[in-house]
């Protein structure tokens, strides 16, 4: 095989995909018109390229659902469940501190908030779960995520 044939065959997929500029495409076509072996290879590349794959109609929905499920599972990972448990513990402890007869003052509210913040900061997993990077604190969770958290707390 000549260097010219090698060079042309190298670019046949690009010719098929219309990725060559006009001058290059003309050069390849004019060679193929005169070279039977390269023409045969172009015919093969063309028949391979003609094999169009049909994406199943439901696949996009399936994939989006699977990714969404994975996000939820990531949310319910052991680290986050531990975080939820810590928040519950902090809230229960705070409610015990606020016994009847004792004035619920700013001090106790602050201590609850601090306890919750501390719990969240201490147990929030490292940012190795990219899908949840956008939800760094309890206050920034979406309604959907809060509902999941409440369900988990209730179960």
């Amino acid at each position: 095989m000549s260097e010219r044939c090698k060079n042309v065959r190298d670019r046949l997929p690009d010719l098929m995909a219309e990725r060559l500029d006009d001058a290059e495409a003309a050069e390849v076509r004019s060679h193929v018109a005169l070279c039977k072996a390269c023409a045969a290879e172009l015919a093969l590349v063309r028949s391979l390229a003609a094999d169009v794959v049909t994406v199943p109609i439901d696949l996009e929905a399936r994939v989006l659902l699977a990714v969404q499920r994975k996000r939820r599972n990531a949310w319910a990972s052991p680290g986050r469940l531990a975080m939820a448990a810590t928040v519950v513990f902090a809230l229960v402890t705070a409610s015990l501190i606020d016994q009847p007869g004792r004035e619920p003052g700013i001090e106790s509210d602050t201590s609850v908030a601090l306890a919750v913040d501390e719990a969240l900061t201490a147990s929030w997993p490292a940012a190795d779960e990219p899908l949840l990077e956008a939800a760094p604190s309890l206050y920034q969770l979406s309604m959907e995520e809060l509902e999941i958290l409440l369900q988990e707390l209730g179960s």
Binding site: L48, A49, L59
Partner: protein, 206 residues
């Protein structure tokens, strides 16, 4: 990060794909548009993640389908590849294009599915042998379709690296440099595998 990019854009590059019977010729992506979307997706923007999923699913399914040649298995592999990609988005460093990175994940997922299938086929073959005598002759329509698919099916008979190089070059429309990135090889090796694959296919097809 650009915040107001339209999210209904298709990023797939010039690859002809059929979605539910309609052939789409999609436009070439602007690299900066892709980069902005990927950055948003990495930051946790779910809308951006979903846009990436929708845009590249035909590419990913096209590849798993051609590597596995079994629609259900290919769909499962494409789904797994997409889920894995979204989970591993933080690991995307931008050394290759997002599409090339995604196709690499799809190749790995398809390989894993192929390994599981070969274990399953060992069992299935026993059943096929038992049923062989009762199997009806294929009708004419089936024979015609089989002939039409011949060239693509012959791909399966190539050594895996040649099969992959030909598929990535012709069907995914990658350059040799991009094929090398997906295959984790040199550009020269990608080129050699492609040409050996084509040569072998020509021999097989007579």
């Amino acid at each position: 990060v650009q915040k107001n990019l339209p999210l209904n854009v298709s990023l797939t590059r010039g690859v002809e794909t059929e979605v539910s019977g309609r052939i789409l010729q999609v436009e070439t992506a602007a690299p900066e548009q892709e980069a902005a979307l990927v950055a948003r997706a990495r930051g946790g923007d779910r809308e951006a993640q979903n846009t990436l999923l929708r845009s590249y699913l035909p590419d990913v399914y096209g590849l798993t389908s051609r590597l596995l040649r079994e629609p259900d298995l290919a769909a499962d592999a494409a789904q797994d590849a997409m889920v894995n990609a979204m989970r591993g988005l933080a690991q995307f460093r931008g050394d290759a294009s997002f599409r090339t990175w995604l196709l690499r994940i799809a190749v790995n997922t398809a390989r894993s599915a192929a390994r599981k299938r070969s274990r399953r086929r060992e069992v299935d073959l026993e059943v096929v042998r038992e049923l062989a005598d009762d199997r009806p002759e294929p009708d004419r329509a089936t024979v015609t379709r089989m002939e039409a698919d011949r060239a693509s099916k012959m791909l399966e008979r190539l050594p895996p690296k040649q099969h992959l190089a030909v598929t990535l070059r012709i069907h995914s429309g990658l350059s040799y440099a991009e094929v090398a990135q997906v295959m984790k090889s040199t550009e020269g090796a990608a080129r050699v595998n492609y040409h050996l694959g084509i040569k072998r296919l020509r021999e097989l097809l007579g």
